[in-house]
Every structure is written in structure tokens, then in C-alpha cells.
Symmetry: C2
Subunit: 411 residues, 2 copies
């Protein structure tokens, strides 16, 4: 195949990055004028690659290349919306790399027995409306019609935004597809973490999209004067919280494939000369295996109970959110793994700690993901970057996957 795939990816990425509501930085929210322009650009690229293109009822842009012998499609894609002041690769890489791959197939005269569809999802980030994953959930048929009434910051409902975008909100359910239309879904995405960079690898295979639990933890001790209460008479809520935070790290380090993060802490009353009487802190706990996350949660609860008993403080843990993990499909991932190896790269599997469109698609079909190395693990930031060489590898792996796809096994 041509060695220009990487530069093609970068050319299209630059064109997409130029479509922004902000001057000098990239912000593109779903169903906006900028979204329409991005869909038009992508539709043009798809058509140039020989695909039939339509916009579906939720505003996704969908391109289709028919197969020789089977109408079932391998679905590829990612999202075209961005966070505010975004990077250029999050989402967009997963739309552009498959298009460049299809271009290469066409150029080389390769005919696939099965169909290929590429989707540019209308909303994954959830920046404009309170809900996220609108595009992928609509295709999976899991979009609650109630979200049509949700409003953006300008009090425009999703229904009105769809109307203005040229879609009939009453027909939004027609975006949903059936399982027997697909062989599976493969999403290419930047890693948004530092693992592949540390491993020295351009791409990696995602084992699962991590499940997550979020918690609010409150420690009640006894406030007091920093000068007059001797150490042995204190019930310092902040030292107790600190011991919990150190324990949380120890527990998450000892278990495989778990991350635990305390990102927010508030000590009250919050004066330098007053012993904290109450501390509230957050916990974000993730694992690609729900049973391991349950195990981590139990160990953390036990550790917190020990700290509370030892220090004579009360500690209350409130779970505020839970989402189970989505395991990537073994058969589909196995084929991506073979493609990575065939392209000459060591196969490294890693979980995705962040959420992706593949989470929603997993309700409809088998899903798998290919991660691409990003500099410093930096994402959701204008500094977000990948190399042309790594983009080239991503296209090569997709090309290898499509041309060597074990199609019989899928039936």
C-alpha cells in the first residue's frame, strides 16, 4: 500500500480541525452549523472513496461500501463532535483513518465480500446537551426518546436542534439498526493515556472499556483549636482522610487493572489554625473487570472502616455513579491482534479507562477498538498530538484487518 496514508490522514484531520465555532481553537458541538460543515466534508471524502452516503435521523453521517457477496457490514467509525478547545484527533482519527483505508482498497482494486460502513457519530462528548453518546445510542436503539426534551445552554431542545439540522425529531428512532445488519464494530481512537508511549508502540489493542464507580466520602471528626488540643486528644478528619487516600492507592496498585483516583478534597472549616472537623473527598474507581472493581471497592470499604475505628471518626461512603465494563469481543479483537502482528508490531493489550462510542454499540453488535499512541497521554487539549507515522500504522492495520478478515467465522 501507499506510504502516503499517514499524510492523507493528517490532511483530512487539518481540514476538519479548521471547522470550529471559535477562532484559533477547536470547538464543534453536535447539530451545530460547524457540525453540518464537518458532515459535508466527511460525506465528500466518503463519496470520493466510492461510498454511498446519508445523514441518519440523529445527525450521524454514514457511508457505505457494498460487499461482493454479503450485505452485512463491518462498521467502523468514531465521533465528529469535540470538547471545547479540543485536540484534533479525539474522535476524528476514527472517522478519517477508515476513509483513507477505503481509498487505498479502491485504489488497489480490492473487492471485499462483506460491506463496510463508516459512521461519523454526531455526539459522543455530550458538550451541548446533558446526555452523551447520542449518535451511537441512536444506532444501537438505546436512545431514550425523553432526551429529545433536554436543552442546551441556550434553552434549545434536542428536538428543535434536530429540526434545525434538517431531521424530523419524531423519526429519531429510525436511526436504529438491527444486529443482523452487522459483522461487528471497530473503533480507532487515540489512547488518551501514556501506556503505548511508555511501551514504545504505535498502536495497541483495547481489551475492554473500563467500568467505573464514583463515590463521595465524608469523614466526621472533631474540629478544634490548632494550638490547644494535644495530639492524643484529636479526632482530625483530614489525617483520617489522608490515611484513606494512601490506602486507596495501595489497594489499587496491588490489584491488576484497577485505577483509583481522589481528585477532589474539601477540609472544613478550612482555616490554618483549626483542626479539620469534617472532610469530604471524591473517589473514581475503574477497572476493565467488574469483579476486580468490586474487589477493590470492598477492600477500600474495609480499609476505610479500619481507619474510622482506629481514629474514632465516622466515615460515610456514598456511591454516586456506576457503569459496568464493556469487554471487547474476543473473535473481533483476535483479528485486530493478528493484523497488528502482521504489520510487524508487538501486540500489547490495554483497557480503555475513558468511555467511547463502542460502549453504546456493544448493545447492538460485537465491538473492538484499536488505540493509537498519543504524545504524553495528553487529550482534551490543543496539545493533543499523534505522529503521521502512527496514523500510517493505524491505516495499515485496518487495511490488513479488512483484507484478511476471517469472514467465514463471522457467519
Amino acid at each position: 500500500m501507499s506510504t502516503t496514508a499517514g499524510s492523507k490522514v493528517f490532511e483530512y484531520i487539518e481540514k476538519l480541525a479548521a471547522i470550529s465555532e471559535d477562532d484559533g481553537k477547536l470547538t464543534r458541538v453536535s447539530l451545530s452549523e460547524q457540525h453540518r460543515q464537518a458532515n459535508q466534508l466527511v460525506a465528500g471524502l466518503m463519496r470520493d472513496a466510492g461510498m454511498l452516503v446519508h445523514t441518519d435521523a440523529i445527525g450521524n453521517i454514514v457511508g457505505r461500501l457494498e460487499g461482493q457477496s454479503d450485505s452485512r457490514a463491518l462498521l467502523l467509525g468514531s465521533h465528529l463532535d469535540t470538547v471545547r478547545d479540543a485536540g484534533r484527533f479525539d474522535g476524528m482519527l476514527g472517522v478519517v483513518a477508515p476513509i483513507v483505508c477505503i481509498e487505498q482498497l479502491q485504489k488497489n482494486g480490492v473487492k471485499l465480500p462483506f460491506a463496510v460502513e463508516i459512521v461519523g457519530f454526531c455526539d459522543e462528548e455530550g458538550v451541548r446537551f446533558p446526555s452523551t453518546l447520542l449518535g451511537s445510542r441512536a444506532i444501537a436503539g438505546t436512545l431514550d426518546p425523553a432526551v429529545l426534551n433536554e436543552c442546551d445552554a441556550n434553552n434549545i431542545s434536542l428536538a428543535d436542534a434536530l429540526q434545525a439540522f434538517g431531521q424530523d425529531p419524531a423519526k429519531v428512532s429510525s436511526a436504529s439498526r438491527s444486529a443482523d445488519e452487522f459483522l461487528g464494530f471497530v473503533e480507532v481512537h487515540i489512547e488518551q493515556g501514556p501506556v503505548l508511549e511508555r511501551e514504545g508502540l504505535p498502536v495497541g489493542l483495547v481489551s475492554a472499556i473500563s467500568g467505573a464507580g464514583r463515590y463521595s466520602i465524608t469523614v466526621d471528626g472533631v474540629a478544634g483549636h490548632a494550638g490547644t488540643v494535644p495530639m492524643h486528644l484529636r479526632s482530625d478528619a483530614l489525617v483520617a482522610a489522608s490515611e484513606c487516600i494512601v490506602e486507596i492507592e495501595r489497594i489499587c496498585q496491588a490489584l491488576p487493572d484497577v485505577v483509583g483516583t481522589v481528585g477532589v478534597i474539601d477540609a472544613r472549616p478550612g482555616a490554618g489554625n483549626v483542626i479539620p472537623g469534617q472532610v469530604e473527598f471524591s473517589l473514581d474507581l475503574r477497572s476493565s473487570r467488574d469483579s476486580t472493581r468490586d474487589q477493590a471497592q470492598q477492600q477500600i470499604y474495609n480499609a476505610i472502616d479500619s481507619v474510622a475505628a482506629k481514629r474514632k471518626v465516622a466515615i460515610n461512603c456514598q456511591q454516586t455513579y456506576e457503569a459496568n465494563s464493556v469487554t471487547c469481543d474476543q473473535w473481533l479483537s483476535g483479528q485486530i491482534g493478528q493484523a497488528i502482528s502482521a504489520c510487524g508490531h508487538r501486540l500489547h493489550s490495554l483497557p480503555s479507562g475513558a468511555g467511547h462510542d463502542a460502549m453504546a454499540l456493544a448493545e447492538l453488535t460485537n465491538v473492538a477498538m484499536l488505540f493509537v499512541r498519543c504524545a504524553g497521554g495528553i487529550s482534551h487539549n490543543p496539545e493533543e498530538s499523534i505522529t503521521e507515522e502512527d496514523a500510517e500504522v493505524a491505516v495499515q492495520v485496518l487495511y490488513q484487518l479488512l483484507t484478511q478478515f476471517e469472514y467465514d467465522a463471522a457467519s
Copy 2:
């Protein structure tokens, strides 16, 4: 002596507590109309007890009872100003208990060889003006004339407030006294801590007023996505800070007579799904022995350096304030100790973690302090309370001190 001393103390405390700028709560700042009323009330009580009374150039109310053979005075007293929404005993007990003691002396016809002076200091809390200890520093001759230009929240300078109070600000230095006028200074004060309550004792002898250091400590780690950065690739500033906080407690517990408090903590960026990249926290370190505080500081610096090296984070410690301890005079404290024992109470010495007028008076003469048990160690709060029985003990100890004073040893 009469058993009504405790109830007398409470009667006078109630009268003083009724003089407030706020309805239903006690707030009385220096050189205010309420301060004038409090001085008038105290002056009346002093005169009724046979003392000669004057208001000095900074607004202190001073009563004097001449001795039989020596003009040198044992100085007693505390402050008449309060914090906002204050308790009734902080400061006032140290003015009222000596007055009740003098009443008892007069009633019993006891004549002392030396003089006694009682001062109601005009300002210890520093609520109205930026500076604190105005009254005791003026008497000690350590008041910087520059503070006359400091302004309150209504932009009234201390000089103008003095003028309105009937004093000539140009003559404020005339409030200063000379060392040879005094035998020493004894301050009665509520403990504002829980130690005497735990010891089951009505009163305690203060060994020293603690010195203090305040610090701002900044931990610089690396922020990152809570889902995508594995535990072993993190430089989490909050876990590092937590380890420091646990170490600070361990070090302060292991050293005698040291308290260390982290009262303020701020984790940045402060989102539940972001690993904290920077944490700033406060440290308040106190000890009655400066060498022990130095030792604690060094051990804390070493522990922080170890945490920084182990976790590959940068930790910067900035000392923002330092005040050395004031050791109570052995000879004077010894006599208070004898008086406590003579009154039938076990002698317990403890440091004062909070500052007091005695700190400023130590620049002029020997100082000593008698602490009175307060419920739950609660102070600077309307819940602040002591019992009539403990107030009685405080007056008894003062009476014992004055009547058994080893006067020869003082010359």
C-alpha cells in the same frame, strides 16, 4: 473565705456579657461604645473593692490597691475585648476573678505589703484593627507608633478611635510602664482546650505560651485522566500530600509538647476524574519549647523530602510566620503551683497553645498564668462555659497566692 466568690464572678461576667454591639450575641471590640461601657462597669467594681482607677493612654482600665510597705505591684488582669459572637469567659474571667479576690481581701481586712494592680486590657483579640495585643504591648512599651495609622473596616484609624475614646493619640507612649514598678504579671484565663477536663482538674499551671510556625506547602505532581493513566505511571500530588499529612501527625505525636495541624488543603484542578497535579496545604506547628519545634520542623522537612524523592514529585515548603515561645517565670509559677496545692488540687502543668496578653507583658516583667477548665475545650463560641465551682477555685488560688506571696524572694 466566702463560698460566694464563684457566684460573684458569674454575676460580674453576666453584667459584662450584656454589653454587646449585637443583640443576642456577644461582640465587643476595642475603643467602641461597648468598650467604654465595659470599662465603666469594671471601674465601678474596682472602686467598690477599694482600688484607685484610671484609664490609661491606650484605653486600658487600671485599678490599683496600694501595699503597706512597697510601691511595687503584682499585676493581674486580662482583656475586655471579644471576638465576634464570643463566649463570656475568654479574657473577662481574668479581669473579674482578681477583682472578686480583692473584694475578699478587703472584706477579711487583709493588708498586703505590696501593691496589686488589675488591668482590663483594651485589645487582645485584634478584631477591630489589624494588630493584636494593643493594650498589653502599650504597657510593655513595645507598641510600634505606626499602628496608630492602622484602620478598621470603617476606615477609622486607631489614632482617631483613641481620640473618640477620649485619649490623646500623641500621648499613647505614656501608657508604658517600667519594669521596676512590678513584681510580675499573673493572668487567669480559660484553657480553651480539653486537657484540664480530661485530667479532672479545675485549674492548671501554664508552663509556657507556645511558639508557632506557619507554613505553606506545595506539591507538584502530574495531572492526568483518572481512567487512562495506570497506577504505576502516576505522580499524584494528592496521595503525596496525604502521605506528608500522615507523617506530620506521626512526628508531632512522637515528640513531647508539639502540635502540628494541617487545616487547609487545596487539590488542583479539583475534578473527580482528574489526577491532582498540584496540591497546596497549610501547616501550623507549635511547641512550648522552641528547640522542640525546630526539631519537629526538621523531621517534617526530612519526611517531606523522602516522600518527594520516593514519589518523584516536587514539594516546596514556605515558612510564612514564626513566633518564639514565652516561658512562664519559674519563681512566679512556683508560687502559683504552691497555691494550687494549698487549695487541695493536684498540680498539673500544661503549655498554652493560644496567645495571651502575658506574651506581651513578658517583655516587661516576669509572667505566669493560671488556666481554668472549660467545657469541651470550646472557646471563641457562645457555647464557651466554665462552672461556678471552678471560678471559685480560681479566686481561691489567687487569694492563696496573694496572701502567701513570698515577697522577700522577689526583691
